[in-house]
Structure formats: structure tokens, C-alpha cells
Symmetry: C2
Subunit: 429 residues, 2 copies
């Protein structure tokens, strides 16, 4: 028989228990934070019809950047690269039965066909939070508040991250002012989106090539100061007013680490108004964590009625990096709170009986059935990071009083089953 | 723009909040039950190298029954059809660092390329529980006890299901006795596995065709009674003793709905000893729920050292059917415990402030920002199955005493924020 590789497929991760512990911790916390605002979870298959993505992204992008293949029924199938088209599909399918507004969230895994050399992952998980059916900026405020709350609930302080916001309509107003063509607008937006990835010189030159040097100089001047930009737009400009009001509303909800950032574009083509992005402020990890925005037109592709929508996606990898950078991740602990060892196999029936008693009170208990000597049984518990051990010998079987040891502190106590339950219930809380 | 279908891809499911609620309930309960025994969760990507499955299942089966495609790096990729090869790969990869025994579980989604007409799902989720590194029947006992405990923790009584067990070595001993060739053994096993799907007549004839009529008659006679079979094997037969001991051990652990079933084969080729399968006993749903067994040789394909292993897989669809059949599923409730409505938008700041107070105590609260009249706000809460509503008007803003209504009973109380927290914390527990 040929020997098969033990490596995972390129660009995806194996989750050993220590890794899954971290992922579970992150998902549990974000679920709690999101549900505090009354959001309900939905889900779908990772398999979607390819046409779902082609409608908005175009044939070429779907074929090059996603996992797309043809099944035996001649259907083109894509492993979902993002969740928003799926939620739009699901809502369009039941638009008449559903009661709006809807507050929905999901934690799907997503796939993208990255070129291997870029080193980015081909599969990641992403929290998606969406609010459907509210036109007013209360919806934007709520969704950004949730993003903020999630990071705060992880223990982050406001100085650790910043929420940058923008309004797509502002850049549109400027394009209008400069009378740019459709093509110039598209290329300018793409360029601004990549501004931080090139030098100022390269940026200025490229902008000049797209819209001409005069317009480029003036556009750069306006965008270089928020005050100047707002003055240029005028106080009665609706797009500017949306931003100013949103910052005020967020401040009333306790979200004060907010910055108006007129060059924030966000990659997706479907945003129609407010966009936002959360950045880590730590010098070692000064990068985009996640973002979202308004996308009022996404149901169009299903021929469904327009529904206002706002939401964001938050990737597991960037959140984990953020939490690691700021030392906000807990240490690994095993699911078992106590490991019961026996001096010989003769005490096993007592061990199983004690385990059942503890389990009946909701305690997680492993019983040693390795057949190894008691010293090795203890080492096993310690290496697997199980916090407590109980050793049962002949005496313990008779007395029903057990010696329980905290492997962290070395402290040992002699306790009855009821007392063990009390001790472990406390240590778990 | 062409109109795109809102249907999901063929053979997979959309999980609307009501569906996800059921799935979350099932997964939460099984995680709790499994962790009571000190099992830790692991995970991996759904993308695996196709060779992982070809080693045990053969090229043809992999190509015909799985989603397998070639990526641009010319790698053959399969959407995992089962989790066992993945866990074997992960353990083989770290065999030297890992401390055995290992108690691991996972709840992966799995894919199979069923022919559409059979109507079976192409994606399902499956709890996988595995114990690595214990040779003795204590391991089989533990794993079967967990399967039993999961169903009991869902509220099932022992009469609702039965655990059928067998030992692959028993049928091997009979094959030895009848001096069957390798090919006869393989075909006989396949036939016995499908026994329940054909008539007795068809079965008898097919068996005669494979091993000859005399042997067929004698084999059927032996297999027709467990007592006769055990007598035939003799009391000192190791395989028979394993079964008798296992039934005794299970009974000591409180697992008494167990049946020795010598024709239980289980489909997978990698089982090497004890196999078991759990059946629903309800007349409307009398079918296999899930199963597992011993597979001591699976690490061979990686050239790794042999490690004894036993485990089972439990699919979300069959468990859900079981729970539905026996009325063991809870009614849907929304994540929000209370929906705060306001008479006009003027009271919204008070609503947000009250929501923050309740959330600080861990209560899930939605605030109405629909802009609809208060009557419609109430209807929204009721239709979304949110159990309580609070209505805030001018008086409530002044008095800080809120009217809270239970939408199930119609009962209304006037309470301060602290009292609301008490009421809702109780109703949630």
C-alpha cells in the first residue's frame, strides 16, 4: 500500500482540540453579544448555484476566484465565497411570509480560490450580522453598535480599535461635481480603495492619469481634510448629513471611537450608502479587522421587492489575530473538569459509579481506562490540561471519601462526592 | 437583468431561524452529553485530498459517490463524505506528540453525491465520537454508553430505541468454519448487510448461489438463533466472549436495551471487531438511527503505528426524525426575550437606555426601530415568537416604571428595570 500524506489540503486548517477551543471561544462570545440585540441565527449549505454570484460579480471573477465546478446534473456549483448573496436569496424566497424588520446572523465557513503564493487561507469562518427592513440610520447605528459591542465583550477597550465610516453617496457627489464619466468613476473608486497599498506619489500620478491633473489636484485637496470636504458639500447635503447624524447617534449609544474616513470604499460593489470598517490600532497589527455597510439593492437579482439592508461580516482569522495581539484569549482547558484514576482495575466500578454521580450534576468527568500505572494516569491528565484528578484505591472504595488534587496548585483535599460537586461547580463558574 | 432562482442547490437545506433553532438545540445537547465523558472537540476543513478516500474505498467509489474535482494546482480535491479518514490523518500526523488515550469528538458537515432520484440529502451534519488508544472492551463500552446517554439526555426512554451489537470476528469465524474463499466472504457479507432490504426467498437463493446450497442452509440455521450460534462457536471462542462480556459491562453501566445481532454488518470496510447500530423502535420510524464500531487498522494508510480505535457517527437528520417521532423537540423561541416598543420615536432614547440596562445583565433585548405604529410593533413581536413586550410612552419615561406583557398568557405587570431583570432571568432559566 502506498503511504498517504497526513497534511491537510493546501490553504485550509486542521483544528486540533487546542485550536478548536479558541474557535469555540470566539464563536460562543460573538453569538452571545449578537443575541443580546435579539438577532436569530440562520444557516445554509456551502453549495450554491454559481449564477448566484455571477449576477453581481461577473462570470470571470466567479470562475477565477471561487471554487466552481459542474456536477453530473450539469449544474454549475460554487462553494460560497460570501454569505450575503445567500441571505438575500433566502429572504427573497420568503419575502411574503417573513415579518420585517428581520435581525439575522450566521457563522458560515466561506471559500475563495486564492493563488497559493499569496498565503491567504482558502477557507475561513465569518460572522455575518444583517438587519433587513429599516430605512433609517437607526439600523446603521444598531449594526455598528453590535460590531463595537462584540469587541468590547471580548475585553477590548475603545483605544484598541477604531471604527472608520463613510458614505458611498459622498464620493458619488464629488464625482458628479467633477462630471466624471462612468468609467472614470469606477477606476477612481478602485484606486482610492487601494490608496494605502501604494505610495502617495504613485497614487497622485495614477489619479491624474484617470481624471486629468487639474481635477486630481482639486479632488485630493478636498479629500485631504474632513472639514474641507463637508464645507465643500455644504451643510444641506444629504450624504454629509447622514454621516454627521450617524456619528452623533453612535456617540449617544456609547460608541465614541469613530472616524469619518471619506476614502473608505470597501471592495464589494453592492454597497449603496453607509460603509464602515473596523481597524486594529495596535502598532503590530494595524490593519482592517472587518467591515460592512448598506446594501439596499441586493434583492433585485431575484426580481423581488426592494428591502433596505445593512450588515457586516467578521472573519475568524482577523478576530483571532486581534485577540492574540491584545492578549485577550483565555488559556486552553480540557472539557473534562476531573480525571478519575484507579490504583488497579478492581476500583473501576467505583470510579464509574462516582463519575455517574458527578455527571448527574452536569460535571464533565473522564475515567482512566488506559490500563497504565497510576503515575502515568496522572501524567496523562496533566498533559491533557485536565485541572483536577481523583485517585481511587481500596480505602476510597470503602470510605467513599476521595482525595482530589488541583494539578495547577498541587493542593489536595479529602472530600465526599457531594463536596466534590460543590468544589468543581465553583471552579467551573 | 435575468431573474435568478431563490431555490437552494439540489439536495441541500436552507436553515431559516426556526430550522436553525432545532439544529442548534440538537448540537448543543449532544455536545453537553459527550463532554460529560471528557471528550474534546476537534475539526477540519471539508476540503480533503481525494487520495485520503481512495486508499480504503477505491477510485471508482470515490469518483462516483463523492464530490471530487481537480483544482488549478492539479490536485484532486474531495468534499469529505465522512470524518473518520480525517481524524485518522490528523492523529497519524501528530502520533508522537499526542498523549493517548484520546477522547475526541466533532460535528462536521459531510457531502455525498447521491443520485437525485433517491431523494437523500447531499449534505448532512454528523456527530463523530472516537476513542483512540484503548484495546480493551472498556473502550467499546464507553462509546456505546455515550450513544445511549445522548438519547437518554434528549428525554428518550430505553423502550424508544435498541442498541444492536455484533462482532466482525464472529462472522469471520463462521467463514473460516465453512472454508469460504476471499471472494465468497466479501459477497456473503454484502448480502447479509442488505438482508432486510430483500425477501427471505431472494436472500436464501442468493446465499445459495454464492456459497452453495448446503453451506447456505447450515449458515442460515446457525445464524437463526443466538444461542445456537454461541453454542456453535463454543464458550472459549474469543469473539463470542467479547460480545457476552460487552453486554454484561453495558448492563453494569445502565445500558440494558442491547441486542446481540449476528447479521449486523455495517457498511464500512474498515471495521475490525465490535460493531453496533442504534434503531428506533417506534412503528412509524423503525429504522437505523446511527452506528459505529472498532477500527484498529485505519492509521495503516499513513504508514503510522497501529492504534486501537472505536467510535460512532450520528447524523442530524435521523436524530431529528427520531426526536420528532417521539415528540422530544422543544417549541421554537426567538433569541430575544423581550421586545421594547415605543409610542413615538421620542421615547427611543429611553428604550435604548433600558435595553442597555437589561443587556448588562445578560438579557437578550430587541428595540423596535421599524417606525411602525405601536400596534404593529406588538404584532411583529408576536409573529416572531418573542415572549415578552414592553411599551414605553411619555409616562414610562418619567416614572421609570414599565408595563411588561407576557404574549403567551396576556399577563401584564408594571415593573422597574431591576424587577424586569428578575422576571426575565427566571423565565429564561
Amino acid at each position: 500500500m502506498t503511504k498517504i500524506s497526513t497534511e491537510s489540503y493546501k490553504g485550509v486548517r486542521d483544528f486540533y482540540p487546542e485550536d478548536k477551543f479558541v474557535q469555540n471561544y470566539i464563536f460562543k462570545k460573538i453569538r452571545q453579544s449578537v443575541e443580546l440585540f435579539g438577532y436569530v441565527e440562520y444557516d445554509a449549505s456551502i453549495l450554491e448555484s454559481a449564477e448566484l454570484y455571477k449576477a453581481k460579480s461577473g462570470e470571470e471573477i466567479v470562475n477565477e476566484q471561487t471554487y466552481t465546478f459542474t456536477d453530473r446534473g450539469d449544474r454549475e456549483v460554487t462553494l460560497r465565497p460570501e454569505m450575503t448573496p445567500t441571505i438575500a436569496r433566502m429572504i427573497a424566497a420568503r419575502q411574503k411570509e417573513l415579518v420585517f424588520p428581520l435581525r439575522w446572523y450566521s457563522v458560515p465557513n466561506l471559500f475563495r480560490y486564492e493563488k497559493p503564493q499569496r498565503g491567504r487561507l482558502r477557507e475561513h469562518w465569518q460572522l455575518n450580522v444583517d438587519l433587513f427592513g429599516v430605512e433609517s440610520n437607526e439600523a446603521d447605528t444598531e449594526v455598528i453598535s453590535i460590531a463595537h459591542k462584540i469587541l468590547r465583550d471580548f475585553g477590548a477597550t475603545e483605544d484598541m480599535f477604531v471604527v472608520k465610516i463613510n458614505n458611498r453617496k459622498i464620493i458619488d457627489a464629488l464625482y458628479e461635481h467633477f462630471a466624471l464619466t462612468e468609467d472614470e468613476r469606477y477606476r477612481t473608486s478602485k484606486l482610492i480603495d487601494k490608496k494605502n497599498k501604494v505610495t502617495q506619489e504613485v497614487y497622485t500620478q495614477a489619479l491624474g492619469e484617470i481624471i486629468g491633473e487639474d481635477k486630481a489636484t482639486e479632488l485630493e485637496r478636498i479629500l485631504s481634510s474632513n472639514e474641507r470636504l463637508l464645507a465643500h458639500l455644504g451643510l444641506d447635503n444629504a450624504a454629509a448629513k447622514e454621516i454627521v447624524d450617524l456619528i452623533e447617534l453612535l456617540s449617544q449609544r456609547g460608541v465614541t471611537n469613530v472616524e469619518f474616513s471619506p476614502t473608505l470604499m470597501r471592495g464589494f460593489d453592492y454597497y449603496t450608502g453607509i460603509v464602515f470598517e473596523v481597524f486594529d490600532t495596535h502598532p503590530d497589527n494595524r490593519r482592517s479587522l472587518f467591515g460592512g455597510g448598506r446594501y439596499n439593492d441586493l434583492l433585485d437579482i431575484f426580481g423581488a421587492q426592494k428591502i433596505p439592508a445593512v450588515g457586516f461580516g467578521m472573519g475568524d482569522v482577523s478576530v483571532k489575530d486581534f485577540l492574540e495581539t491584545h492578549s485577550l484569549l483565555p488559556a486552553y482547558t480540557h472539557s473534562a473538569q476531573v480525571h478519575i484514576c484507579t490504583l488497579t482495575t478492581l476500583q473501576r466500578p467505583s470510579a464509574f459509579s462516582l463519575a455517574d454521580t458527578l455527571r448527574a450534576d452536569g460535571l464533565n468527568v473522564s475515567v482512566d481506562i488506559s490500563g497504565k500505572k497510576v503515575g502515568d494516569q496522572l501524567k496523562l491528565a496533566s498533559k491533557q490540561h485536565i485541572p483536577f484528578v481523583i485517585i481511587i484505591g481500596e480505602d476510597e472504595v470503602k470510605s467513599q471519601i476521595y482525595s482530589i488534587k488541583n494539578l495547577d496548585t498541587g493542593e489536595e483535599q479529602k472530600l465526599k462526592a457531594e463536596e466534590i460537586i460543590q468544589l468543581l461547580s465553583k471552579s467551573h463558574a
